[in-house]
C-alpha cells in the first residue's frame, strides 16, 4: 500500500467517526464535570481517560467513587461493565488478525463501542486497513481525553450540583445508553431481572452491592434465555 492509499484510508476513518465526536464532546464535558464534583483533579481525569478509555465504566466508577477510593471494588466494577469487550474482540478478530502483530494489539487497546460498530459496518463492504481503523480510533481517543479534562477544569467551579439537577445527570446518561442498547423484546427478561434484584439489594444490603447482584441476575437471565437467532448472529460476524 502506498502512502497515498494510507492517508486516504485514514481520512475515510476520520470522516466516519466525525458525527460520533459530537456525542463525545457532550459526554466528555459531562463526565469531567461529574468527576470534579467527586473530588478528582483534572490531571487524574486525564490519566483515567487515557488509560481506561471506556465511557460507560468511567461514569460508573465516578458514580460509586468514595474518598478514599475502593481500589478493588472499582477494578471489579470496571471488569463487569466492560465484559462486553470480550464478545466485541472476538467479533473483530477475523478482520484484524492479518495485521502486523503490534497493530493488532494496539487496535484492541483502542476498541470502543463506537469504532467497533463502525468497523464491523465497513467490514461488510471492504477490507479493514489499520489506517482506516486508526483514523476512527485516534480522534475518538484524543477527543475523549481533551473533553473530559476540560470538563474537570470547569466542572469543579459548579457549586451545589443538585440545584441544576446534575445529581440526576448520571442516571439520565445511563438511561440514554440503555435506550441505545435496546435490541428488542429479548432484552426485557435480563433487564427486568436486574432491576428486581438490584431494588431488593439496594434496600437490604449496604454499599453498592446492588450493582454487582443486579448485573449478575441479568446475566444469568440472559444465559437462561439462550442465544437469539444463532444463524443471524453468525452472519453478522
Amino acid at each position: 500500500m502506498t502512502n497515498n492509499d494510507r492517508s486516504g484510508e485514514f481520512t475515510a476513518g476520520v470522516l466516519t467517526i466525525l458525527p460520533v465526536l459530537v456525542a463525545v464532546v457532550v459526554y466528555g464535558l459531562l463526565f469531567g464535570a461529574l468527576a470534579a464534583q467527586k473530588g478528582l483533579s483534572p490531571l487524574e481525569v486525564t490519566v483515567m481517560s487515557a488509560l481506561v478509555f471506556a465511557g460507560a465504566s468511567q461514569f460508573v466508577a465516578v458514580e460509586i467513587w468514595t474518598s478514599p477510593p475502593g481500589v478493588l471494588l472499582l477494578a471489579l466494577t470496571a471488569l463487569m461493565v466492560n465484559l462486553r469487550h470480550v464478545l466485541m474482540g472476538a467479533a473483530l478478530a477475523p478482520f484484524i488478525r492479518g495485521w502486523p502483530r503490534g497493530r493488532t494489539w494496539t487496535a484492541l487497546f483502542f476498541m470502543t463501542d463506537e469504532n467497533w460498530a463502525l468497523t464491523l459496518q465497513r467490514a461488510g463492504r471492504t477490507t479493514i486497513t489499520p489506517a482506516f481503523y486508526f483514523g476512527l480510533a485516534l480522534p475518538l481517543y484524543g477527543g475523549w481525553i481533551a473533553c473530559t479534562t476540560l470538563g474537570a477544569v470547569f466542572g469543579a467551579v459548579l457549586q451545589d450540583p443538585a440545584r441544576y439537577g446534575l445529581d440526576f445527570a448520571f442516571t439520565a446518561v445511563f438511561l440514554t445508553l440503555l435506550v441505545g442498547m435496546w435490541k428488542g423484546p429479548r432484552n426485557l427478561l435480563p433487564w427486568a431481572a436486574s432491576a428486581a434484584v438490584a431494588t431488593a439489594a439496594y434496600f437490604w444490603l449496604p454499599g453498592v452491592w446492588y450493582i454487582a447482584l443486579g448485573g449478575l441476575a441479568g446475566t444469568l437471565a440472559g444465559a437462561l434465555q439462550g442465544p437469539a437467532r444463532p444463524k443471524e448472529a453468525v452472519d453478522a460476524v
Binding site: L40, S41, A61, L79, A169, V173, L178
Partner: protein, 105 residues
C-alpha cells in the same frame, strides 16, 4: 473538593490503574480466546446481557426507589432519548427533576 489541577493522589492512581488493567483484560481477552475456543450458545447470550444488566442495576435506586420526581424524570428521559439527540434527553431529564422536585415538594 480538590481544586489543584495537578493533584495526583496515590490511591486514586491505584484505583485508575486497577480499572485500566481490568479494562485491558476485557479488550484483549476476546481476541486471545477466539484463537483457541469458539464462544457461542449460552455463554455468548450471557455476555451479551451483561452491559444492559449492569446499567439497569445502576439506575435502579434513583429511577425506581428515590421518589416520584426521579421516577417521572427517568421516564421522560427515556422518551426523549427515543426520538431526540442524547444531550437533549440528558438536559431534559435534569431540568425535569428540578421542576418536579419543586412541584412535588
Amino acid at each position: 473538593m480538590q481544586s489543584d489541577i495537578w493533584a495526583l493522589d496515590p490511591l486514586t492512581l491505584a484505583a485508575i490503574s486497577g480499572m485500566a488493567l481490568a479494562t485491558w483484560l476485557t479488550r484483549f481477552a476476546g481476541y486471545w480466546l477466539l484463537r483457541r475456543v469458539t464462544v457461542g450458545g449460552r455463554v455468548a447470550a450471557a455476555l451479551e446481557a451483561v452491559p444492559g444488566a449492569i446499567l439497569m442495576a445502576i439506575v435502579t435506586p434513583v429511577a425506581f426507589a428515590s421518589g416520584a420526581a426521579e421516577s417521572a424524570a427517568a421516564v421522560l428521559t427515556v422518551l426523549l432519548a427515543l426520538r431526540l439527540p442524547l444531550i437533549v434527553a440528558v438536559a431534559g431529564g435534569c431540568l425535569a427533576v428540578v421542576l418536579l422536585r419543586t412541584l412535588l415538594g
